[in-house]
């Protein structure tokens, strides 16, 4: 019998807790596949965020460390510097990275820390139940912006990949999504490239993944995918933002 498909060894053999239609599971799988293909499951150290991916250490097959909210880049800084030959990544959502952890991600990029950050941007707080994030679009409804975000009240959403790309320590930033197979393949390539550039010692590498949150967006899964392409991808353009 031939094996048509096999779950990647980069993930543990367990059930994910994510909601139907959420992008986290797909992104986990892509990172797991890249780790397996690169043969780095045994050496990689992953840093998990606070947010929906707080349990990622139960899913990734590599060693993992759960960080305090927003602090993953600080944790990763010391892990990478004390283990310079091993791949290190942080996996962070938009509340974690762009809000409470803004200082940590900016300074890690500024220092050119040689780890990779996977930034899951679904423009909302998922785990706490749909509050406004720094990435929530103008007009997008959230439980703390019931009438939709306004510029007057909350300013305009932050384009993190572009902001970090102004820093010299960042050598690679790409924004991807996983809404269909062609985009998913691009996302996987970006994940691999980030790991490769990290291990070549080039500097800080950053992959922003536009992600769906059907539960907190109040949409079906297909509708969420469409909303992402029509709205999120319009404000947060896909593609390579910076490559040195």
């Amino acid at each position: 019998m031939t094996t048509i498909y096999q779950k990647t060894k980069g993930l543990q053999d367990t059930t994910l807790h994510y909601c139907p239609g959420c992008s986290h599971g797909i992104v986990h799988k892509l990172i797991g596949e890249v780790m397996e293909e690169m043969g780095i499951i045994d050496t990689t150290i992953g840093i998990c965020p606070v947010g929906c991916a707080v349990f990622a250490g139960n899913y990734f097959a590599c060693d993992t460390i759960e960080a305090a909210h927003g602090r993953a880049p600080a944790v990763a800084t010391a892990v990478k510097r004390t283990h310079p030959d091993q791949p290190v990544f942080t996996y962070q959502g938009d509340g974690d990275l762009a809000s409470i952890g803004a200082a940590e991600i900016i300074h890690a990029a500024m220092r050119g820390e040689k780890f990779t950050t996977f930034f899951i941007n679904n423009a909302i707080y998922g785990m706490t139940g749909g509050q406004m994030a720094p990435t929530t679009l103008i007009g997008q409804r959230a439980t703390t912006a019931p009438g939709g975000r306004t510029k007057e009240q909350a300013g305009e959403p932050v384009q993190v990949a572009e902001m970090l790309s102004t820093l010299k320590g960042l050598v690679y930033a790409e924004r991807v999504c996983v809404t269909d197979i062609p985009h998913l393949n691009k996302a996987k390539k970006a994940i691999r490239k980030a790991f490769e550039k990290q291990m070549a010692g080039e500097g800080f590498t950053f992959v922003e993944i536009l992600a769906t949150c059907p539960t907190n967006w109040g949409m079906g899964t297909a509708e969420a995918n469409k909303w992402l392409m029509d709205n999120l991808a319009a404000y947060y353009p896909l593609g390579v933002i910076k490559e040195v």
Binding site: C62, D63, A68, T82
Partner: protein
């Protein structure tokens, strides 16, 4: 052994490197800047990592990362900076990670002053972060003890997988004193098989976390931590007794005020008042049982607690002694240091009052 003159903060940094610390992350704040400065110069040659972090919050989380991946790690700061580290300390206790935090205390609250103080006793011994937790808190009174305790601090942290705090007032950090580098006999410590340092053939992944979403699991975890805290209380208590055998006035003080109290006690004895000093070296666990025993001695008429605070250790002193002897307090705050004559006067006054 050769006696060398060292500055406090630099001696503490050197001791940490000699104790095997291989990752230091810190942020500048007076009066402890010599620690990160020394580390930046010496840590690379020791094969370790030095990072000047963007904040105290980041520094403690870097230490969390190094500790989680099996490296002996440390951060240092002074009072307002240590407040910012409380989140990370709580997480380290929760995730059972060993590390050393040095607090060279200055005046508070808020920005306070940059002179020596002891206003962070509550924060250190009660746990300034969230949750039920304890950290062994070591309070050196001179530079020899400061460097000796650094070796113990890393060993205690590793043995219990719990952060350890060195709580020293600004005088310990800033003054110069002679010291000798003693041979340290390391404890027999278990291997860090729990560390998230890459699986390298291990049949499972190591996942460092402090999250237990189910109440029953979180309670069970707390019970495990409680057992460790109890073991620390049983095994790690330290103190010094100075002229306490026949003391009528028992002075209780830690850090620099203990030295001032000792000189005051010597003066009082010349004046005919038998004074002695009980000096806690571990503030948590607090050497309550021994303090109680001494206070119960028939000779002891009154206990005088001396601090560079408004009376924080005083709570522990009263808890230990109860109603068995009267307890009085003398403190200076905000960066002011009690003088020997002030302590003498306070002790003599307390003695006269109860005689």
């Amino acid at each position: 052994m050769k006696r060398e003159i060292w500055k406090g903060s630099e001696a503490i940094a050197e001791a940490a490197i000699r104790a095997g610390c291989r990752c230091f992350c810190g942020y500048p704040i007076t009066p402890q800047n010599e620690i990160p400065e020394y580390m930046s110069a010496k840590m690379p040659a020791a094969g370790g990592v030095f990072v000047q972090s963007e904040s105290e919050v980041s520094a403690i989380n870097m230490v969390y990362g190094a500790a989680a991946s099996g490296i002996r790690a440390m951060t240092s700061s002074s009072s307002p900076g240590v407040s910012l580290k409380q989140e990370g300390i709580s997480y380290m206790v929760g995730a059972e990670l060993p590390a050393v935090i040095v607090n060279i205390m200055r005046g508070g609250p808020g920005l306070g002053s940059i002179q020596p103080a002891q206003g962070d006793y509550y924060q250190a011994t009660r746990g300034g972060g969230n949750g039920d937790y304890r950290t062994v808190t070591l309070a050196p009174a001179n530079l020899q003890e400061a460097v000796d305790l650094m070796f113990d601090a890393f060993d205690i942290a590793d043995q219990y997988r719990n952060p350890v705090m060195i709580l020293a007032d600004g005088l310990i950090g800033q003054m110069m004193e002679p010291l000798v580098w003693k041979e340290h006999k390391p404890r027999n410590l278990p291997p860090k098989s729990w560390a998230a340092d890459g699986r390298k053939g291990r049949d499972h992944n190591n996942f460092i976390t402090s999250l237990l979403v189910e109440a029953a699991d979180c309670e069970a975890h707390n019970r495990c931590l409680e057992k460790k805290f109890q073991e620390m209380e049983d095994k790690e208590c330290r103190w010094e007794e100075i002229m306490t055998e026949d003391a009528e006035v028992l002075l209780v003080a830690y850090g620099t005020p203990a030295r001032i109290a000792q000189t005051a006690a010597e003066h009082l004895r010349k004046q005919g008042i038998k004074a002695g000093v009980f000096r806690p070296i571990t503030l948590w666990p607090f050497p309550a049982r021994r303090l109680r025993e001494i206070a119960e001695q028939r000779s002891v008429k009154v206990v005088l607690d001396v601090e560079m605070s408004l009376g924080q250790m005083l709570d522990d002193v009263k808890l230990a002694i109860g109603e068995c002897k009267p307890v009085r307090f003398y403190g200076r705050v905000g960066g002011s240091i009690p003088t020997v004559s002030e302590v003498e006067k306070a002790a003599a006054g307390a003695y006269e009052e109860v005689k």
